[in-house]
């Protein structure tokens, strides 16, 4: 019954790993790394919208190859990338979609018979494949963006969308404190795990999780007071200024030009 401890420790560990991995990849020299963060953010957003309007297998296949190439040329390990993105888009989605393959959900042309009145339909299979590929490609773009860019930069780049100040300021601060609170949390869970002898029942586990949450809440309360005092002592008067040094270069124009040409060809050949 202590597996909730391990699961939580592991998922927090993964969050740290993700950040570390992103720092490593974003320091390499690749296609995505050489682009301006604002351009990257906007183009990824537009590409995801276009992919989500896609309806056919050939269209999805082209974008599938596109994301693989993009990951490859951005120096991202293809194995780690495919495993990570497939977890939700292929495995989870695949399980959700199993019933939709059969004629009981939607009638269609029979493809594989189980019994006379229970078979996999051609339409069901096709739309399931499009569905999974669409999910895979959309997640890929986000994953490639998050890996090839320093996270702080991504959040800074969001300012071009002119969001209210309360969001951008809170967002940038939140990211930093997430890792602090995660560390407090992982220490609590590790401490609990190391003191675990024998079996504890699940109600005891729930009590522990609730008290851990309350403890994180108390700590974050103290933390926010400390942070505020630290900010005031550094001259904070209610305005939150940051220095941005984004610069659009030659590579960005090539990237924009390439994508416009790519989308134009897709549109022209009616995929």
């Amino acid at each position: 019954m202590d597996n909730f401890l391990e699961k939580t420790i592991l998922s927090i560990q993964n969050a740290f790993e993700d950040m570390f991995y992103s720092d490593t990849i974003s320091a390499k020299k690749g296609i995505m790394q050489s682009l301006d963060t604002r351009i990257k953010l906007v183009s990824v957003f537009i590409l995801i919208i276009i992919v989500n309007f896609g309806k056919t297998i050939p269209f999805m296949t082209i974008f599938f190859i596109y994301t693989l190439l993009l990951a490859y040329f951005s120096k991202i390990s293809l194995k780690a990338y495919v495993v990570r993105v497939s977890a939700v888009s292929i495995f989870f989605t695949g399980i959700v979609l199993i019933p939709s393959l059969f004629n009981v959900v939607k009638e269609g042309q029979p493809l594989v018979y189980f019994t006379k009145n229970f078979y996999i339909t051609k339409e069901g299979l096709e739309s399931a494949i499009v569905f999974m590929m669409r999910s895979f490609i959309s997640l890929s773009f986000v994953y490639i963006l998050a890996l090839s860019t320093k996270w702080v930069e991504i959040l800074k780049a969001l300012r071009i969308f002119k969001l209210p100040h309360i969001f951008t300021a809170t967002l940038e601060m939140a990211l930093r404190y997430i890792f602090l609170l995660l560390e407090i949390a992982i220490n609590m869970f590790l401490a609990r795990k190391s003191r675990n002898v024998g079996k504890s029942d699940s109600s005891e586990g729930r009590k522990f999780v609730a008290s851990a949450m309350a403890n994180v809440l108390i700590k974050s309360q103290q933390l926010s007071d400390d942070v505020y005092n630290a900010m005031v002592s550094r001259g904070y008067k209610g305005e939150y200024k940051t220095i941005t040094t984004f610069k659009i270069t030659f590579y960005d124009y090539i990237w924009i030009g390439f994508n416009i040409a790519f989308l134009f060809i897709l549109w022209y050949i009616h995929l």
């Binding site: 699961k7 993700d18 995801i48 499009v130 986000v142 998050a146 991504i154 809440l217 974050s220």
Partner: protein, 230 residues
């Protein structure tokens, strides 16, 4: 609970995103009016708190685990408007940096988890308090109803997809199951398991804070935000 990318049509995502704009605009106004300088770090840390506790695995009878979203808890602590902003930011970081949920689906996800859940949960909590129930029970019931309301909204958004978006011969383009499948499936899981987990955890957190006499944390912000002088 998070809707992944590709399950909803871009049109639905646009509508849900548009629905979140007025919510967040009002929230930003309310928060700007009632928060002072001191509270920007508090909201940031509120988001970090929401993000952190969503990672906690909660053991459930039978040996598996589930998650709590803590929306009602955050709404009781920060007030529903500030909770809405904090939760949206937590979801945003999950979607953009960790790839959980989707960027297009963010509008829908934040509508369900950052708007419906904290507001319904908080409303029910206040209602239960006015019925003279104690805070632990009230917050538990608030948590239960809040997460179920969010699950219902999620199921409706998903279930509408095959009705609205399909090819000429009726093959669904996005989420393939209609309301008659999506609502029972989602609600069964949430009414029986996820809702109870949320209720137990929310109630226990409030109980624990009362026990260690740190209860004031729960109300420090929200009393001022609501204009109560306590």
């Amino acid at each position: 609970m998070h809707i992944p990318e590709g399950y909803l049509s871009p049109q639905t995502c646009a509508v849900m995103g548009a629905a979140m704009v007025p919510v967040l605009t009002v929230a930003a106004k309310k928060v700007n009016k009632s928060f002072d300088k001191r509270d920007v770090p508090a909201m940031a840390i509120g988001s970090a708190f929401a993000f952190t506790i969503m990672m906690f695995n909660v053991p459930i009878p039978g040996g598996t685990t589930s998650h709590a979203i803590g929306a009602t808890l955050l709404a009781i602590t920060l007030g529903p408007w500030a909770a809405s902003i904090s939760l949206t930011i937590a979801l945003f970081i999950q979607a953009l940096l960790f790839g959980d949920g989707g960027i297009l689906a963010l509008g829908a996800n934040s509508f369900n988890i950052a708007f419906i859940a904290p507001f319904v949960g908080y409303g029910i909590y206040k209602l239960m308090l006015s019925l003279k129930l104690n805070k632990v029970i009230s917050s538990a019931i608030g948590g239960y109803v809040g997460i179920n309301a969010a699950a219902l909204a999620t199921a409706i958004e998903l279930g509408l997809q095959p009705l609205l978006f399909h090819t000429a011969n009726g093959t669904p383009l996005y989420f393939p199951y209609g309301l008659n499948v999506a609502i029972p499936a989602m609600m069964f899981a949430h009414l029986t398991v996820a809702g109870i987990v949320e209720a137990v955890i929310t109630g226990l957190v409030v109980y624990y804070l009362q026990k260690v006499e740190e209860e004031s944390i729960l109300y420090k912000f929200s009393y001022r935000l609501r204009g109560d002088n306590r």
